[in-house]
């Protein structure tokens, strides 16, 4: 029994460090997993036109990401340039035309819903819808950004 004491002391010292580390979250300190785009997401109340357009864009992005089977974040990162969009479709095995169509459909649907529930003024909705239909996907976010900047808040 006495011969086991040094081993027990060594194991005890190790446990005295590892147990508190694990209790404090050790082993799960890693990048936060992104949310499922198909699950409902609660958005804060939109104030002003800029936030309304942002909310429409985020709703659309969630919907399209769900349809394409990717995360919302991957899709947004793909929309920053044509190269990024090409890489995104290639890496995820998605047909480029299908992806472009999904994005346009998702945005138009989000605009229609926002117009119906009164969050997007009827005068502005056609402008956003026109942008959704005519602008390439990788220029959409920037176009919406400029549109929000241009219109009165």
């Amino acid at each position: 029994m006495r011969r086991a004491i040094p081993f027990l002391v060594a194991i005890g010292l190790v446990a005295a460090v590892i147990v508190p580390y694990v209790a404090l979250g050790g082993g799960s300190f890693e990048p936060t997993p992104v949310a499922d785009p198909c699950a409902p997401r609660a958005y804060p109340e939109a104030e002003g036109l800029g936030e309304t357009i942002e909310r429409i864009a985020l709703t659309a992005v969630d919907r399209v990401a769900c349809r394409l089977g990717v995360s919302r974040e991957e899709l947004v990162l793909a929309l920053r340039s044509e190269d990024a969009f090409d890489r995104f479709t290639r890496e995820n095995g998605i047909d480029r035309t299908e992806a472009e169509q999904a994005i346009h459909d998702g945005l138009v649907q989000a605009v229609d819903e926002a117009e119906q529930d009164g969050t997007l003024p009827g005068l502005i909705a056609p402008l956003v819808r026109k942008a959704a239909e005519s602008v390439p996907p990788w220029l959409l976010l920037e176009t919406l950004e400029r549109l929000g900047d241009f219109l009165p808040g």
């Binding site: 190790v14 404090l24 890693e30 974040e73």
Partner: protein, 442 residues
């Protein structure tokens, strides 16, 4: 006598510090020579590989003519250190590191023989030799970090030249001795255990400093100070180890402590240098109990301790090479994978943040540009730099920056978890050969 013993110990420590001393200088070397991350690791690997290969032949040369071997080793080491410090190209630097390792092999193995003469007993010589080697290897990253920050990476090598030349004073009054009886076969279990422990210790000696400097943004000097906890603990435990513990039992306890400390490094709950301290104390205690004990088991009671000392040197540095070759690709691949996860998590934080909606796209683009820049430079992204010039005194912006930094910390810290766990398993594997170790009478 004591002065000569101290000089010989200094020589062993200096030469073996070179196995880890450039760890913190690697990012600067990478920048100066414009080489890839994989290539720059050869500044470390080449020294350890050549030392592992030459240690035994150098020991045979040292047992025949220790005086000459020590003198030649010191001169080769000094000239090669000078060449490292003045290297005009990366190829010359790696070549000079290989030559430096040849000098180190001769110097370190001959020092063991000379210590026996100076200290008057093989046992006392072995104690000084092991302690100096452990202290050198463990203090190497700290010394290298401080020198790199204060004077540049070249100073690491240039500073060694005068110190090495002073070592020649240790040769005064040393006489030639007759060649001893045949050395006999090496202790395979003790050397194998030493190899596995050294492989695991790579994570503690190299990866901790990389995490502190490149991962969490500490300065090389500050990181150098943080990592002195481990060698100080090792020296303390080695000095005050209870005699009643026994060498084999001490080694087993040491392996448990090293593996436990490495596992604790893999399970850090937050980013911050203070979280490395308790695991470093565990590893340091294990280092103090194990390396000296295993060297003693491999050398004591054998007819020629210089040759068997050479075998332990070869085993230790082969272990370092094994650790570097195993852990580096695991870390690189985990960093790549976690970078993509962190970008997605960062994008989620930007999209969900309360900053003005029209600024979000610009922020996302700035952060991604910083990620690309850092990736090309072999660095980790600097969130504050990416968002510099924006309204950083606003609460929403502060919250965004801290959220992004948190994701980066999570990505980096968890990327190191796999290599730390692998290193823990490697060190724990030393228990298998330890079960076959039989102690010889001293």
């Amino acid at each position: 006598m004591r002065q000569r013993s101290a000089l010989l110990g200094l020589g062993v420590g200096l030469a073996l510090a070179d196995s880890s001393i450039v760890t913190l200088a690697l990012p600067r070397i990478l920048g100066d020579f414009d080489v890839s991350i994989t290539s720059v690791a050869w500044v470390l690997t080449s020294f350890n590989l050549v030392l592992a290969l030459v240690a035994v032949p150098a020991a045979y040369a040292s047992r025949r003519k220790p005086r000459e071997a020590f003198g030649a080793g010191v001169l080769v080491f000094a000239v090669a250190s000078l060449a490292c410090g003045l290297a005009p190209s990366f190829g010359v630097l790696v070549g000079a590191r290989c030559v430096q390792a040849v000098g180190a092999g001769l110097l370190v193995t001959a020092a063991l023989d000379l210590l026996s003469q100076v200290d008057g007993s093989d046992e006392a010589a072995l104690r000084v030799w092991v302690a100096a080697g452990v202290a050198g290897a463990a203090l190497g990253p700290a010394a290298g970090g401080i020198l790199t920050q204060l004077l540049g990476w070249e100073s690491i090598f240039l500073a060694q030249v005068p110190v090495a030349l002073v070592l020649l004073l240790a040769l005064r009054g040393v006489e030639a001795r007759p060649v001893k009886a045949p050395a006999g076969r090496p202790s395979v279990p003790a050397n194998l255990a030493l190899l596995l422990v050294a492989g695991g210790l790579v994570a503690a000696l190299f990866l901790v400093v990389l995490l502190l400097v490149d991962g969490w943004g500490l300065s090389p000097a500050a990181a150098g100070i943080v990592v002195t906890v481990m060698p100080l603990t090792a020296i303390g435990v080695g000095r005050f180890r209870p005699r009643s513990l026994g060498v084999v039992y001490g080694c087993v306890c040491g392996v448990i402590l090293i593996a436990g400390g490495l596992a604790a490094l893999a399970l850090m709950p937050r980013a911050g240098w203070w979280w490395t301290l308790p695991p470093q104390i565990l590893v340091g205690a294990g280092l103090g109990l194990t390396v000296g004990g295993l060297t003693e088991l491999a050398v004591r009671g054998r007819p020629d301790q210089v040759v068997h000392g050479g075998w332990t040197l070869a085993a230790r540095h082969a272990g370092v090479v094994l650790g570097l070759l195993l852990l580096a690709p695991v870390l690189t691949s985990a960093l790549d994978e976690n970078r993509d996860e962190a970008i997605r998590a960062g994008a989620a934080i930007v999209l969900d943040s309360r900053i003005p909606p029209l600024a979000k796209l610009g922020v996302a683009q700035d952060v991604l540009a910083e990620v690309d820049r850092a990736n090309d430079a072999g660095e980790l992204p600097d969130v504050k730099r990416a968002l510099a010039g924006r309204a950083d005194d606003d609460e929403d912006w502060t919250s965004l920056v801290s959220g992004l930094q948190d994701q980066l910390d999570r990505a980096v810290t968890s990327a190191f978890s796999g290599p730390f766990l692998l290193a823990a398993a490697l060190a724990l594997g030393a228990l298998i050969p330890l079960a076959f170790v039989r102690r010889r009478p001293g």
